[in-house]
Amino acid sequence: MTALQQELVITVVKVLVLFNVLLGLFSLMTYVERRVLAFMQFRLGPNRTGPFGILQPVADGIKLFFKEEVAPAGANKWLFVAAPAVSIVTAFLSIAVVPYGGTVHLFGRDISLQIADLDVGVLFLFAISSLSVYGIVMAGWAANNKYTLMGGLRSSAQMFSYELALGMSWVGVIMLAQSFRVADIVESQAGGFWHWNFFRQVLGFLIYVVAATAEVNRTPFDLPEAETELVAGFHTEYSSMRFALLQMAEYVNMITASALGSNLFLGGWLSPLPQFIPDSPLWFVLKLFVCLFFFIWLRGTVPRIRYDQLMDFGWKVLVPLAALNALLTGAVVVFPR
């Protein structure tokens, strides 16, 4: 095999492994979310299927497979089918540039634990997340239903507004690392937990948390699906596996946001105390789960905010704060103490 073919084989293996891990993590998250939420609300949650109800995602999957695919009579056939596909493709594309470990030495080769190591990794993520709104907009418009249309409209305005804050919250981190590569940004935080961007970029981190929550449509920013006012928002008319795909895209986006948060702000695979405990991809997994738990915790704690509050907060608070953060970080980088 030539070097190119070897590279190709390694990449295909990495893609397959990551794809299946993500599918597993998605079904695990549907279970964990329902259980944790239930305990926060003094309920039990799903506990009948298998030990502790752990087989609930399997049961849900089988059920969804056998449901009938229903499309409304007035729906736009092409876009109605295309919407879940667009959602899932953009969701899986963005995780490709997120590293989950440094470089490992296997079979006499250096293998980086990341599918695509782009020089413009962070920008690529930004580009894909700006495309991810189209799946929702398409779904909302194609179903030809006033509730879905409202959901689609809201999501296009919301995701567009918070994307700006999201991108600007990364500017400080990029300046400190002097690179767009995600792996470089992680390496720039080496040397113990007090070097992590979580401490060096407090404002940026807070803006990222808020904007990422809005970007993945989680409570308190789940306006596009607000079930108390819009039935189920943009996916009201979806059933069976198409619904499952939309749901999967949502969870994968949440996983990406958590993975990115732990890489950019929580030091990725770096150990908090490198003198005593070595760096390892396990740290990344631990931080990922902490972030995922945080999303669920947020959903169990904070009520949904009103739509005008959402837009006001995005444009009048988050964006100016992000600009201020970029300015301050720039000053610190350019004028050394």
């Binding site: 876009l79 782009l118 020089d119 413009v120 920008l123 690529f124 930004f126 580009a127 894909i128 700006s130 495309l131 709104v133 189209y134 907009v137 398409m138 909302g140 418009w141 249309l149 689609g152 409209l153 296009s156 305005a157 995701m159 567009f160 994307e163 767009f180």
Partner: protein
């Protein structure tokens, strides 16, 4: 000789042209908007193939990501239905002008293609973020660049002032 790059180039070029035709030919504005997004994305793939991922990513962020979302938002807000075919296709003069313009375009494209080289465009040119920033923020371009940003800011403030009289 067909390298993988060349094959990919032809695929994306075909997608770009086909979706661009849909943009122009489609009566339903929503279809046109979605087709334009496809055009912009496959154009960005061509930039990527030419070895400038930075430009490719910018293309998606600015055009496919930001501008098209606003287009779609307005289209959905007004709930525009398919254009009325009867309107605007009446006058013979307009048709004549259209045909003349199309003929001119064909001639121009022909001239350009005749003078263009046969090989693929130069690949691997340096369009990294660092390089682009250096060019943008140094002597000849920096004034134009800053003037443009002031212009955009002015337009922004003007739009807000017009839209919201009692601020």
């Amino acid at each position: 000789m067909t390298t993988p790059d060349a094959v990919l180039f032809y695929v994306f070029a075909a997608v770009t042209l086909a979706s661009a035709l849909v943009v122009v030919g489609q009566r339903n504005p929503m279809y046109s908007a979605f087709a334009l997004i496809v055009t912009l994305c496959s154009l960005s793939a061509i930039f990527g193939l030419l070895g400038s991922p930075f430009i490719a990513v910018l293309q998606v962020i600015v055009y496919a990501g930001a501008i098209m979302v606003l287009f779609l938002f307005v289209l959905m807000l007004l709930n525009v239905k398919a254009e009325d075919a009867a309107e605007g296709s009446g006058s013979g003069i307009l048709k004549g002008v259209g045909v003349a313009l199309a003929a001119m375009l064909v001639v121009q494209v022909g001239i350009v293609l005749q003078h263009a080289g046969r090989g693929m465009a130069a690949s691997g040119f340096d369009a990294s973020a660092r390089r682009v920033a250096h060019v943008l923020f140094s002597a000849p371009y920096v004034y134009v660049f800053e003037a443009t940003s002031v212009l955009i800011l002015t337009a922004l403030v003007g739009a807000v002032a017009l839209a919201k009289k009692e601020l």
